[in-house]
Symmetry: C2
Subunit: 405 residues, 2 copies
């Protein structure tokens, strides 16, 4: 029998940084029930163990799970192993590979280890939906499919759009929201958490629970985090992500690179800074009392500390200041050797200072590349051979000592 | 190692009375392969064991199965037991009940017994798709669902129409064509037979076999038989059906009631009369050499003999002639007792001479009801009490001796 903080105190924390909350009164009622019975809420969050390389965007959801843990509720970290093993056979061009049981387990393990930067490992219940979905079998799945109509499924925007645009929707994609709903039914979830892009699936779970006479789950989603560019949602493939496994100085430096307007959003979604405190700093920045860089440095420090520790945060800050405040060069600039005759574009790409030649060209066009402190304007520049290495700088924080052999 | 009749002889029989044949060249190639290897073709026909009360319409398909048996091929009578056990949970108003294993088995048994009026029991292989569909399990079904897109599924006319008209399509209905296709894959069917309304499902099987690198099945459908009214397709609920379990005189009499134009169609679809013979009789009727009633009596005789025997056919014919040619009354007119005060409409309905009061009213309006040989014009007529029973005649062949008590 557990005890919980006062309901409105719980509500204040749970409402923080959400995109959807369906609905608030029902959540309040469930919290009241928990208080009355001493039984914590069952809070379910599903994870697809196909992409174990997590970035800050993933932590927004985990932080919401953590809030429930802090309040004394049962948080289930649900690995969608069954569907991951099936893979996505649709889309001829980009067939998602089917994962073996071993790969799924390994991915889930990596996922969990990264998630435990945020979640309390002792309070996190790990489960896998193969446990009950495999039991369903052919008959169970067909019966489950019989509990929902195509028209309701096509209320999902992306399905309707894809169908209208003649983009293929595989029949099994129609089954995923139903198996996910069945997870909630099986677990008798009180709350399901997910990213805002999951809202439709979460609501299907709510509907099916209701139709089976269960108390429907409350649905809470968190917004998709905007990446370092301040424009697109954070994504590894877009290149605007900070990975949880990044080095302290990378996390620090890339955080310092985000637009000022974005930092308030990150403070809300990526830290536990009290909302009132964030608001008062925002006012201080607006009135000129506080420099925005101070706010961003505090944010960067907190992010490094979360995924490494306080010492790493202090060290990352020290190095950042020496490079950018002092205009200096970091201690550990890597060397790169190139044969004579290559253009600067090819050298930058080869040295890994840009992801491709076209990115290198773009950076040069934008004035983001310098050699020995002088901006490079000509992408076809061919550096001469010389005894001393050149110091090549790309963007604000990428350096190489270039030797021409 | 079997031997088979010459290919073109086989083709002539197999082409008879089909609605679709996809495609002819491939069937010819498969027959050639059978001739070469001595391996008979695998011919699959699925049956839904939910409606065991068979009528003549069902025999059209069985006759096509029988043709394959006559030619020496392997005919599989496939009971769709798995899907029958699931039932059809869609459609709030008319939920199809889920059948138990015992009910499915009993229905399948009834189905088979009736089917063996046409099929050779010794040559018919009975199988049930639960045998392999249950094995598929959750993963197998989801994977199968991944092999087809929604857009292709919506090429089926009735799906598209229902979606457009906001009539519900349950997600599991999208799975049925796929499980049916999987049956064909599992059995490595050379040919799948079905009613013309099944053409889409049969073609899905053909496509999936091709996509899995199997020699795709040839698809043959037979038309839906027109019922005794000469208008609607035969159906018990429409009331234009002749059930296989009907009494000889019912089969005979109802066959004699069909429109003349329909009898040629029935000769093709319900008998083995050679097509050339049917054509020459048709010519004889057209030139006035042959009375159409002769053709119809021959048809009626053959139908009774099929489902009963030659003696029953002779007896049914004798009785038919005594009633209709001689204008007489059959030997075994049933008695019906009614209390005084009832209208003739109510009496006719109660006595089972009409299916409802409204049908009784319609028959009276059409002049189809007589008492003691006199047409009844007034539906509110109340027959008086009298010592002798009335002879009530409804339509051409329904009689009762009516006693008013």
């Amino acid at each position: 029998m557990s005890t919980f903080p006062p309901i409105e105190e719980q509500m204040a924390l749970l409402r923080r940084a959400t995109a959807d909350l369906v609905d608030e009164d029902q959540l309040r009622a469930k919290l009241a029930r928990a208080e009355e019975t001493g039984e914590p809420l069952v809070v379910k969050t599903g994870f697809d163990p196909t992409a174990p390389d997590l970035h800050l965007g993933h932590t927004v959801l985990m932080r919401k799970m953590r809030h429930f843990q802090q309040l004394g509720h049962r948080v289930i970290f649900l690995v969608g192993d069954l569907t991951a093993m099936i893979g996505d056979p649709s889309g001829r061009k980009a067939t998602r590979p089917q994962l073996s049981k071993e790969e799924v387990d390994a991915n889930a393990e990596t996922y969990k280890q990264q998630a435990f930067h945020i979640l309390d490992p002792d309070l996190t219940e790990i489960d896998s939906n193969s446990r009950w979905l495999s039991e369903l079998g052919t008959e169970g799945i067909i019966r489950l499919a019989g509990s929902y109509t195509l028209a309701r499924m096509l209320e999902r925007d992306d399905f309707r759009t894809r169908l209208a645009n003649n983009q293929p929707i595989s029949i099994h994609e129609l089954l995923y929201p139903l198996t996910q709903a069945y997870d909630s039914i099986f677990l008798e979830a009180d709350v399901e958490l997910g990213g805002h892009d999951q809202i439709f699936n979460l609501l299907v779970g709510r509907q099916l629970m209701k139709e089976r006479g269960l108390d429907p789950q409350v649905v809470i989603t968190v917004p998709l985090l905007v990446g370092t560019d301040g424009v697109e949602k954070m994504s590894k493939s877009v290149g605007n992500a900070i990975a949880l496994e990044d080095l302290p100085k990378e996390i620090y430096g890339r955080t310092m690179s985000i637009p000022d307007e974005l930092m308030w959003n990150w403070c809300i979604h990526l830290t536990e800074q009290p909302e009132a405190e964030i608001e008062s700093r925002k006012a201080a920045v607006a009135s000129g009392e506080l420099h925005p860089k101070e706010v961003k440095m505090e944010l960067a420090r907190q992010l490094v500390a979360q995924f490494h520790d306080d010492d790493a945060a202090t060290e990352a800050e020290r190095e950042f200041e020496s490079v950018f405040r002092g205009g200096g060069v970091p201690d550990d600039v890597p060397s790169h050797a190139a044969v004579q005759g290559k253009t600067i574009v090819a050298i930058i790409a080869d040295a890994g200072l840009a992801t491709s030649k076209s990115e290198a060209r773009r950076l040069i066009r934008q004035g983001g590349v310098s050699i020995d402190g002088e901006k490079v304007a000509d992408p076809f520049l061919v550096p001469d051979k010389r005894d001393e290495p050149y110091l090549v700088k790309v963007g604000k924080r990428r350096f190489a000592r270039l030797e021409i052999a």
